[in-house]
Symmetry: C2
């Protein structure tokens, strides 16, 4: 009897954003923050695989400056499973680096690629979808993507038009992907929502090692060639310098004939700004949400999102719909609906007061 | 030729309030904070006397637990000029303690008693009023009080009805005090403002040592008797235990026949809450005010009052009329018009989270 293929996980943890400033800083991006639960988002992503993918089969791709952050977030991760890109080259090379490493180690394996800064629950539902996708990927050379059932006309995500239902795995439908759509404007997004059959592209993929290797060699041959054998540090640096800067979606998924989609219709969030924490945490009876471990003391405050380190206290009196963040000598107070503007504030600080970034 | 009497100052620094929490804590009341300028309010009060009252003739009355705070705020203060009350007994015994000590040291002297947590400017105007009052006090055995020309129907202050103009010193009118009025309700305060001739009782007094000694012996004989000779620590404790808890206003000023008033019609504030900082500091072009040494970075924010320690940053996006304070692991965000409610918040914390007080 043939051994069932093993499932490996690749956690994509190299991102660096500014939308969670001042909790996230240059040296500590969102995936290392306790903004969505008791642990860092990276640790919660790994924990979401508990019972399915053990640490030995979990890989993390990051950038060199974040290696220690990963080690601290995932102390059980084998050192050899920690991959550092010498340069950021978008998700194409990043996914290829890990996917080809796993393909070399275990050619018969399956893989799931997960951004390390999403919130998904309940965990059981996610694991059911993941196992269904793994079964599907074991049975066909197709690439699989998780599609999020949309709740609003989001312009921040790529969308997927689901096509024919090809079958199901363990009660979960598997659809052909009709097409991928880049981030739409609001009018188009509204149209998609009204039309039905559209999903958000989650950036979570499941495939066999053989399938992704074949797809990379076909659609990103330079990347495939550069990364399909183990490289010493200096070689990797030279190789990366010549790689195209391309996302895995544009470079591979959109060019591939047979991409399939499994829907996620339970809670998912990529927590794109402080405001998004409202959907992620339980609120008190007045709609206030606390994260990060800080205590909240509110006197007649409503709809506020607060974040601070354990041991800190955030006190509110008579305020509504604010984001209040206290971190490392910086306090941010922002109207919730303007949480996207944190980015602009950070840009302004970069010019004048870089010590706070 | 007789030597002109020397002017001594008594700075009343024993207060402990909660209205500037979280910058002020149990161990560090308002007078030791940098909320109104570059130095602590106590140091700024002493600096306001520069050129008129040197450190050798400046006394500070405080409570034992604040002795080191005074020493740090006023490193030039002679140790013998630092008086500690063993118990808080309102301002009557507190003023008497210093006034009688100075009377013993220099019976022919004059005194000015100043709360250590007021903001007054310009300094030159204040010094002019002070010198005028000192001249007046040298010429008569009357007690003198500074009256603040009212700008609104304040219910938080005692009021003074000015009577007949008795004369002037250096261009500043000296009025008889017709009567003192305890903190009025809003309707009465409005009436005073409309009526004219009413002033706020500043709690700042000028008198000769002989005059205050005589007034104390007449109106607060027990206090006078207990404190009119130098006392060892244990004696002072015993003496204080038996003293009445009475303010200098009620215990002496209101009972005295000949009290006179000099008006202050330039800027004065007792900075009764965070909201009051708006009057004390220069605002930026959008009405935002920063104090305490923290940097402020504002993106479309208006009318906000922020306070933080030097080295801290407070960032605001799209907010209006807020108080934002960051201090020692605590952040307070409060609507300006509700700044009085800090007191209630502190009371609530006292029951549950005393470690933040």
């Amino acid at each position: 009897m043939r051994k069932a293929p093993e499932l490996y996980a690749v956690l994509l943890a190299g991102g660096s954003g500014t939308r969670f400033w001042p909790a996230s800083r240059r040296g500590k991006p969102k995936q290392y923050l306790r903004i969505a639960g008791e642990q860092s988002m990276l640790a919660e992503t790994a924990a979401r695989l508990e019972g399915i993918v053990p640490a030995e089969r979990t890989y993390v791709v990051t950038v060199r400056s974040q290696l220690d952050l990963v080690r601290r977030a995932l102390p059980g991760l084998p050192e050899g499973n920690l991959l550092a890109e010498p340069l950021a080259r978008n998700t194409g090379p990043c996914v290829a680096l890990a996917a080809l490493e796993i393909a070399l180690r275990d050619p018969a394996s399956l893989q799931v690629e997960l951004p390390a800064d999403h919130v998904i629950h309940p965990r059981e539902s996610f694991q059911r979808t993941l196992l269904a996708a793994a079964r599907a990927a074991a049975a066909t050379p197709a690439l699989h993507v998780f599609g999020i059932r949309p709740t609003h006309p989001a312009t921040a995500y790529g969308w997927i038009l689901a096509g024919r239902r090809l079958g199901e795995e363990q009660g979960i439908a598997v659809h052909a992907v009709e097409r991928f759509v880049e981030k739409p404007d609001l009018a188009r997004a509204r149209g998609f929502l009204e039309h039905g059959g559209y999903y958000w592209n989650s950036g979570m993929f499941v495939w066999s090692s053989a399938a992704i290797e074949r797809a990379l060699s076909e659609h990103l041959p330079a990347v495939h060639q550069a990364l399909s054998r183990p490289l010493a540090l200096a070689e990797l640096e030279r190789a990366y310098a010549g790689l195209p800067q391309v996302s895995i979606d544009v470079g591979v998924l959109e060019r591939e004939r047979d991409v399939r989609m499994l829907p996620i219709d339970y809670f998912w969030s990529d927590v794109g700004s402080w405001d998004a924490l409202a959907g992620v945490h339980a609120a008190d009876e007045r709609g206030n949400v606390a994260s990060g471990g800080a205590l909240l003391e509110a006197l007649d405050a409503r709809g506020c999102i607060v974040h601070g380190d354990p041991g800190a206290l955030i006190a509110l009196i008579g305020v509504e719909d604010l984001v209040v963040v206290q971190s490392g000598g910086v306090t941010l107070v922002c109207r919730r609906e303007r949480a996207q503007e944190v980015k602009q504030l950070v840009e302004r600080l970069a010019r004048a007061r870089g010590e706070f970034l």
